[in-house]
Amino acid sequence: MTAYAEIGVTTNFSFLRGASHPREFAHAAALLGYAAIGIADRNTLAGVVRMYSAFEELKEKGEPVTKQLVGCRLVFVDGTPDILAYPTDRKAYGRLCRLLSAGKLRAPKGECLLTLDDLLKWQDGLLLVVMPPHPSRTVIDTAPPKRFWNKDLALKDEGVGGVSLEKYKTNTQCSFEEVQVLVGKLAAIAPGRIWLGVSMPHRGDDQRRLLKWKQIARRAGVPLIATNDALYHIAERRELQDVVTCIRKGVTLNEAGRLLEANGERHLKTPVEMTALFAAAPEAMAETIRFANRIAFTLEDLKYNYPHEPVPPGKTAQQHLEDLSWEGALRRYHGVVSDEVRKILKKELELIRKLEIAEYFLTVHDIVSFAREGIKKEGVPPILCQGRGSAANSAVCYMLGITSIDPVQMDLLFERFVSEERKEPPDIDVDFEHERREEVIQYVYRRYGHHRAALAATVIHYRPRSAIRETCKVFGLTEDIAADLASGVWGSWGSNLSEAQVRQGQHNPFNVLIARAVKVANELIGFPRHLSQHVGGFVLTDDRLDEFVPVSPATMEDRHFIEWDKDDIDAVRMMKVDVLALGMLTCIRKAFDLVQTHENKTLALNMQAVDPAVYEMLQKADAIGVFQVESRAQMSMLPRMKPKNLYDLVIEVAIVRPGPIQGGMVHPYMRRRAGEEPVDYPSPKDGDPNELHGVLNKTLGIPLFQEQAMKLAMVAAKFSPSEANGLRRAMATFRNLGTINTFRDKFVGRMVERGYEQDFAERCFKQIEGFGSYGFPESHAASFALLVYVSAYIKKYHPAAFACALLNSQPMGFYAPAEIVRDAREHAVEVLPVDVNDSEWDNTLEHSPHGLALRLGFRQIDGFSEKWCKILVGARGNRFSGIESLARKARLPKRAMIILAEADCFQSLNKDRREILWEVRRLADTETLPLFAAQYVEEQPEEEIAALPTMPLSEHVLADYQMQRFSLRAHLMAFLRDLFRKEGIDDCRYISSPADHPFPVSRDGEKVRCAGIVLTRQMPGDAGVVFITLSDETGIANVVVWPKLVKEFRREIMSGRLLVVEGMVQRSKEDVIHLVAERIIDRTAELERLSEDDIEVPSFRSQAAKHLNRHPRNVRVVPKSRDFH
């Protein structure tokens, strides 16, 4: 049996060079029986963890694995040939990371500039394989970078390490002599650690060159080592390899010529094949084994290196954590810690001690405490924050104040957060106010230093759209075809394509071309394209981070990110904290502040969620702006769920999700909740008939949460912990999308075998798949449920502050400002217009005769800048007495004045919008520079102005819509009411009012016609149903369009701004009202009448001419609806 270790593997993490995933290489290596396999990607270690994880998975399944060598292909800018570098031990690995970091930190983003001197500096402990290039590769492979990261370099333009930028190139031609000199030099510096790598690329002169290298190696006194310099794991990937090369070079296949490989030989070969190729140099084959044996380093060596800062001197981390936890418990329970809590806390702390992860908790605690308390020292108000995700299962996290949900009360299990079997570190994600997350990030850097803190990477993958687009370009197909394919017109991903092919004739080369492009694009999907920084995932270490993993500069100055994404970090057990941003926290903070200022009441996040009035409001689906439950689907669920306590909200949040919906669990749950169906538990043939009781009792026997699905796998389908782990991972990650199917048979098969109903088993698995696209564990729902309650509480008792805070936190949530304002007015909040004398940039609260009123701020005006606002407010003093004093004091540019006039902000000066607009247009058309300030014409010649036509109300409203997307004056539909009434169209109030309303309302099943402006269009999931919300001056109507109708009225649905919908009213017994559409008519044209009523355009009016000559502002008569797909 011949033994072989492959050391020269380029994966797709050498972006657009390799054509196989690290995982595929791992599997292939195991299958071919390699002694070892080493990934050597181009100046990066980004792919090594993927291969590591792949082998771990194989190990779990008990399949044979191959030893993984961790290394990198160093590509130099000074003409040195490529060198493969493999660290022998942890220390040497650290040096390799330092070397790569150094190269990256001086280079533009995504590049790495290395010279031979850099390598010599860090070579200690590295095994180096010189890879002489083949002389026939004459094509220069890399252009010099356009922009240098390091400013010093850019300024001097002297290049790196004395190498001028002009010479910047990768070595593509290198004589035998040069290689001999280099190898000799290296061998003197690093004796016994230098090899000369040779491959047999089938270029005709392979044997001749092999002998030549043999000679040179002997002269230099270094061994020859065999490699296949592989770019892909199987021969069939040649096509994809050619395509990624073209993408990288920006050429089509036809233009690429010899940029592509001459043949498809760069795949992994069997040891027998390799032996045959290297028949003339068997020692080079033997050397691969000797090489592999010298490497002791594995990624295992990296785990658990947590910062020690949060531990005060003289204490161990574990002690400190225990002290803090007990302190916290006393505070949480006001001095009385029950035995139950005591027991749970002890158990958790014991496990933490065993796993040695106390420092992890302390670090997160440290960050959270800073946001809550520490930041006050800097004279800034505290930042709201709350842990989300599985951390809410932990009592320790609750006691430390990281999470706000009491897991004891909620009956949440710590094992879901940390367990002994799972070898991954815990994962704590903390949400902060989205506008202030930056301050937290700054703190992390301050506290832990740039050398120990960096952001995780996000691997940007090829998605179906980008894959097909790029592939089409390479195939020379036009952008239009690419767009067609991408939009799925020609079938989704191959399955429908072959059918279309058959129809259009198999021998049409055009179709074959397209079929090929689709095939290659399918393979390209999921390929990494480049690395980007994760928004808030921090990696922290106790030792230098750049000895753990190479570090690259991020877009923002002084920010760095590492080469691994969060899954990789988990796999190597490094510490990660997600500093996330949540818009709702910002909104709640703003609302709290407003309530404090204007109503002198102090609110806090940790309120007792028990006020029945708040739940009553939610039961009526009065939930616009409320966190999580404001979508159409949630709003129609609320009256059915009738939430009465916090746990109901937890379910409410979790139930309208792909998992339960795809699993068909929603309706059974609702029926049981309503008492229409008995609560029972599915049971197996034999064994404990109540085995699922413990799993499902909180949700009436219906699995709703991700954890329950997992638990089902273990209890009902008897998954082993490692199988369950695999399933969990398959659910969680994109890259394992394919593997989830392998679990299906196991899951369903075993449940059926044990006597569960086939249908139930299948639904459970469907649900698991649904979780895959958007997982929602119970603990996460619980954390969110609290925010649902808090936001609902504010809405209930402080509606003005709520609306104000919501508007000031835009963009967020489902609803546009228009809806928030309408909702506020319906809740008796007076809303005042934007005004030069009264408004700030943000929306504000004012005391008015009717209580607190909401004063709109300048931020609501399209096109007005915050800078202008500052000038205006700064110049305002007490108040502007008139337009002249405003113009004189503020000296805003003409454009700003026009926008203010258009938005009618001079009402307190008693100026008519039209007149003032005409007046400001006279202003000098420049921003006044200080130098010319004196020339500012203050007094323009008096002008006798004939009166302008008065502005009709409809035009005022229209102008309001154009400037701020809503109007406080009237609803646009009011002006069309007469027209529509004549057509027998009902208003929204008639359709949507509750059945017990005093005036006449529609009945269930009644045929109605309704007209309104489209507020939102939602197309949840891929069910094909479209929800449209129509609005008129009397309220809103919720329209449902079933898929068949969507097809028929697609045009109207997608583009109409004003629709007439004919259909049937559907009232559920909870009085949830929908209008089921049967016919849809686009009446957007009616809106144009509003501005043109008073003008008769003679004779012919062409559509095209109108569109050609309209101001962009005019084209958009009504704000675009908010659409979610």
Binding site: P135, S136, Q173, S175, H202, R203, G204, R208, A235, E239, L253, E255, G257, R258, A262, N263, G264, E265, E479, A483, S487, V489, P509, V512, R516, E902, R914, L917, R922, E944, I945, A946, L948, P949, M951, E955, R1050, R1051, M1054, S1055, D1082, E1092, D1094, I1095, V1097, P1098, S1099, F1100, S1102, Q1103, A1104, A1105, K1106, H1107, N1109, R1110, H1111, R1113, N1114, V1115
Partner: protein, 479 residues
């Protein structure tokens, strides 16, 4: 559709699309969401402009004063031309009728001033404004008809001034202070109160010279001499515009009415009379059927039907450049004599496939190609390609071991060759994207037979991976 700010947008629509509610400027994605079966084509502004110019050319027949009003309008100054066509209305109807007959969608109007005509064309199709009535006609039109910039138009609408008449009623100083004098001027033009002359297009340069002979000429010397003098005149004209001719045509009008045309082409722009004369002489000499003057020519016309920019031809001290020029001239002459498709040059093709690596192109055309042979070759290497490549690889019988051994013996054209030396294989895979079905990969061997002859052979197809019985071909011979 066109690309605008990184989004594909609709830039023009046909009637059906308009009636279905699509609009210009709409994002393509949006339009597709409405109509998945929508057919779109990439906009070609250049072609549109060219078409407009061609229509303008065509309009020359009505008046020499035609101005473009891009993107899709023409202004014709028909002052003094209407009577030729039976009056204003008749002229307008005739122009529009003729254009409609050609399949265009046309709107038009005729008025005393260009702006008034333009305003009316959009809103009062086919209307002829009687002189002095501009004001009355324009007043009720919407201000959009003035074609002001969108911001100004919007400002008027906002002010409640929605027709040209309403704007016209305002004090001119008031308008100037807000919108500038250009706007007021446009307004006045539309109202017929003032006019700016249209700027007619500059006609395309026409390089055409001709010489009339009161006495028909028949002798070769005279013909040649007159060609030279015509060429001189033509070259002067070319020089003035900094251009040179790529295609020239000489037309000989015989006294009995027959016309003979002879064309020559050059590889690079030329404006040297001598060269032109020489090229024609080559061509005339090469004519199978010599130019028969019969009773003599009474008119010779020389025209340049294709001209390109050309740097001034100063004598160059650079010998290489001069030599280059000589070669080009030679190529032109040979091409003139034997036809462009008989004088070929080899150009490298960037590909691994041996038989496709070089292509023979007409030498006059080949100069522009990017790649050069230098970049194709690599130094410090044994020759990898044979000196002579067979036009079509020829199958040979071989004795060779599978899977990958070179042949030990082969028979080519009935002659047996014993292989004594061999190197290889050089594995060349076919360009998969060019073929409907997978093509066999070739393993090329360089072999030397016992007589010292060297050949380039290949095995067609990888054993077992692609074929069970690979065949062998001989593709070339080394020196």
């Amino acid at each position: 559709m066109t690309k605008e700010k990184n989004a594909l947008r609709l830039s023009a629509l046909d009637r059906k699309a308009t009636s279905l509610g699509l609009s210009i400027g709409q994002p393509l994605a949006n339009a597709r969401a409405m109509l998945p079966e929508l057919k779109v084509m990439a906009a070609n502004d250049g072609a549109d402009h060219k078409l407009l110019e061609r229509i303008a050319d065509w309009c020359d027949r009505f008046t020499p004063f035609v101005a473009l009003d891009p993107p899709r309008a023409l202004l014709l100054d028909v002052t003094g031309a209407t009577h030729l066509f039976g009056g204003e209305k008749a002229l307008l109807d005739r122009i529009m009728g003729a254009l409609r007959a050609q399949g265009f969608v046309v709107r038009g109007a005729l008025a005393g001033t260009s702006m008034a005509a333009r305003a009316c064309a959009r809103h009062r199709d086919g209307f002829v404004v009687t002189p002095g009535q501009e004001m009355a006609v324009a007043a009720p039109l919407p201000i959009e008809a003035l074609f002001l910039d969108p911001v100004t138009t919007h400002a008027f609408r906002r002010a409640g001034l929605k027709t040209i008449g309403q704007v016209a009623n305002r004090d001119r100083r008031e308008l100037t202070a807000r919108f500038g004098s250009a706007m007021v001027f446009t307004l006045e033009t539309a109202l017929g109160k003032t006019e700016k002359p249209i700027s007619p297009r500059i006609p395309l340069p026409d390089y055409r010279t001709e010489q009339n002979f009161p006495e028909p000429i028949a002798t070769e010397e005279v013909i040649r001499a007159s060609l030279v003098s015509l060429a001189e005149t033509l070259c002067d004209a070319l020089e003035q515009r900094g251009e040179g001719a790529r295609r020239l045509e000489a037309a000989f009008f015989r006294a009995d009415g027959a016309v003979m045309r002879i064309a020559v082409e050059t590889g690079s722009p030329t404006r040297e009379p001598k060269i032109i004369e020489r090229l024609f002489r080559e061509k005339l000499d090469a004519l199978a059927d010599p130019l028969d003057p019969g009773f003599g020519f009474d008119l010779i016309r020389l025209s340049a039907s294709r001209a390109e920019r050309c740097e001034s031809a100063l004598a160059d001290f650079n010998a290489d450049l001069n030599a280059e020029r000589e070669i080009r001239f030679l190529v032109d002459r040979l091409s003139a004599r034997f036809g462009a498709h008989r004088v070929l040059a080899f150009r490298p093709n960037d590909t691994h496939i041996p038989e496709a690596a070089g292509a023979a192109l007409p030498a006059q055309e080949a100069r522009g190609t990017k790649s050069s042979w230098a970049s194709m070759r690599c130094s410090a290497e044994a020759p990898r390609r044979p000196l002579r490549l067979l036009a079509k690889p020829e199958e040979v019988e071989t004795i060779a071991a599978v899977p990958s051994s070179p042949p030990r013996r082969f028979r080519w054209r009935r002659v047996q060759h014993d292989v004594v030396l061999v190197e290889g294989p050089e594995r060349i895979a076919m360009e998969w994207w060019r073929h409907l079905s997978p093509q066999p990969t070739r393993d090329y061997f360089r072999v030397e037979d016992s007589n010292g002859n060297r050949f380039w052979l290949y095995r067609d197809g990888l054993y077992l991976r692609e074929t069970g019985n690979p065949r062998w071909y001989l593709h070339g011979m080394f020196a």
